[in-house]
């Protein structure tokens, strides 16, 4: 029959006309262009940031800018060491205080707590992530810092024999209080990733440990924690990235003094805080120095987040040695936690 015969135009019975294939092409290339646009945008921003900060670097040299400890706007001397040190001290404090608490919370939620409590506990910890950073700053400076000042002074007097940490007069805004508030701020992300990683521990391992007579704690120590080590490290690094980049809460709490704080309970400055605080009235070389501070901050977070990603991805693959079933789900969950939290 004629209708069934293949048309002689060269087009198969089942293939679409070129016109009907047009929207497909358009969508595919449109979306590809959109994705390419993001790459171009990031590279362009980075190049422009380097360009804007180059006067400051050529003024003092890359090394001089980063490691000179004199930040004096009026004298046009821009050494970023006090800022870098402030950023590192406060973020390290945040990790020191925040990670053990976050991991303990994750262990409790996944291994120890009654099943009914698990969801409410998780939601409560994640509520901390919903509080904006400026509110942490507000709460920290008007409530936490004045309340803790007496205790801080007591501790500072007791440990005054340790150089760079104890001794001296405790000010209301200081390094320690900044680190403490940062610790609270990174709790949700570190805890979320630890929880996701702990959920990937095969129950075989845990049951084997319990079957051999281990107590709950021994099971956690020998079966759960070693399996999750790189995931927890990755979560902690992500928290570190957050802490390093945190701006507004730090600006409010660190005291904004452009000097190397003499002790842990003294005022200081951080890379992000200096930008937030001084950019508004900055001109010329000063502005360029602030762009340079932003660049240093950007590179620092890039390195930390790169490391974090390495560890989290390794954990999502089920640790370096034991590939196990069900890890694929864990990978998705971890990726979700990394991007969503």
């Amino acid at each position: 029959m004629e209708a069934a015969s293949i048309p002689s135009g060269g087009r198969g019975l089942l293939s679409r006309s070129p016109l009907a294939r047009l929207p497909d092409r358009a969508l595919k290339y449109g979306l590809t262009a959109l994705s390419a646009l993001i790459l171009v945008l990031i590279v362009y921003f980075f190049v422009r940031l380097v360009g804007e900060s180059s006067p400051a670097f050529s003024h003092a040299g890359l090394f001089g800018f980063t490691f000179n400890k004199d930040w004096n706007v009026n004298a046009e001397r821009f050494g970023a060491l006090p800022l870098v040190v402030g950023t590192l001290i406060t973020s390290a404090l945040a990790l020191l205080i925040g990670v053990p608490v976050a991991v303990a919370g994750a262990i409790y939620a996944t291994e120890l707590c009654p099943l009914r409590l698990r969801a409410p506990l998780t939601i409560l910890v994640e509520l901390l992530a919903a509080v904006p950073s400026v509110v942490y700053g507000l709460w920290g400076i008007f409530f936490l810092a004045p309340k803790l000042r007496g205790a801080e002074q007591w501790v500072a007097d007791r440990i005054s024999f340790i150089p760079f940490i104890g001794g001296g007069l405790v000010t209301i805004p200081n390094y320690f209080i900044t680190g403490l508030v940062l610790a609270i701020m990174i709790l949700p992300i570190v805890s979320a990733i630890s929880r996701e990683v702990m959920a990937t521990v095969p129950s075989d391992h845990k049951e084997a440990a319990l079957g051999l007579g281990a107590t709950r704690w021994e099971m956690i120590r020998m079966a759960v924690l070693p399996y999750c080590r790189s995931g927890i490290v990755g979560g902690a690094m992500l928290g570190l990235g957050r802490a390093i980049g945190e701006t507004i809460a730090v600006t409010i709490l660190i005291g904004d003094a452009p000097q190397l704080g003499s002790h842990l309970f003294g005022q200081g400055y951080s890379l992000a805080a200096v930008i937030a605080n001084e950019f508004g009235e900055a001109q010329g070389l000063h502005r360029s120095a602030l762009f340079a501070a932003g660049l240093v901050l950007f590179v620092l977070t890039l390195l930390v987040n790169g490391l974090a990603r390495f560890f989290v991805v390794r954990a999502a693959r089920g640790g370096s040695t034991t590939p196990t079933a069900g890890v694929g789900d864990g990978g998705v969950l971890v990726a979700d936690a990394v991007s969503g939290a």
Partner: protein, 298 residues
Amino acid sequence: MSAPSGSSDLLGRFAVSPARRRRDSLARGSILAATLIALVPLVLIIYYLLLKGLGSWSSSFFTTDPTGNTFFKSSSIGGIKSAILGTVEIVALASVIAVPIGIGVAVWLVEYGRDSWFAHTVRFFVDVLTGVPSIVFGLFIYIVLIVGTGSTYAGYKGAFALTLLMLPVVIRSAEVVLLLVPGALRESALALGAPRWRVIFSIVLPTALPGMVTGVLLAIARAAGETAPLLFTAGATLKTSFGLGSFMNSLPVQIYSDVTSPTASVEHRAWGAALTLVVMILILNLIARVVARRSRLA
């Protein structure tokens, strides 16, 4: 014929030694204590927000602009109308830009890019974007839209900065959800003769919709609380402005300028504004959770 000896003997041989038992309860106790410690700041923050924030809420608090007057009684410092409207406008514009682009990129990653080297590069750059400190986004926009054009702060520039902040969150959350759409659904549609674009618009996107809404709402909630990217892009002002081309106030910036103000009387307004902001963000989070629960995927 070694029948099991008395049960007390068995218990004796297999029981956990007192030392190990002590260590177990000690460890469990400290884990519980640390968990409770983690909840202390949450309770304190919520308590103080309610205590101080509710005290400054009043009908005039929401219907007047801040006056810039800081030296008199709290009645004359004004409210936060311009800040609320500014936040809503800026975040709305940011979402209108970020959501279509973000979902578009996620669709490309899942439906077209998949495991190609280019898709991996895009994922890598999106991850880079995730980690960029929010103040650096402000600097980016400042360089391009303020130094680059020689103009000054404007609401839409703040919205662009928030767009950059939202993009990675939208892309990664949408990607995760799109990956959960069963491949069988796509294959059935393709086998029935639907072209690729129809499969995406009629099958994949509707299936993934609730999950994507959750991700979008969480991204909006995150953007709404950001101060740093707005400081040098949208600026700070007292008056209510509806044009996104002019200086624009926002809740986080208003709180920040009240906190850093040398006079103490504006502290009340900061607490009230903070409570307003947190309530707005919590509502978004709540809706996101409800939508997530309705999702058919995962």
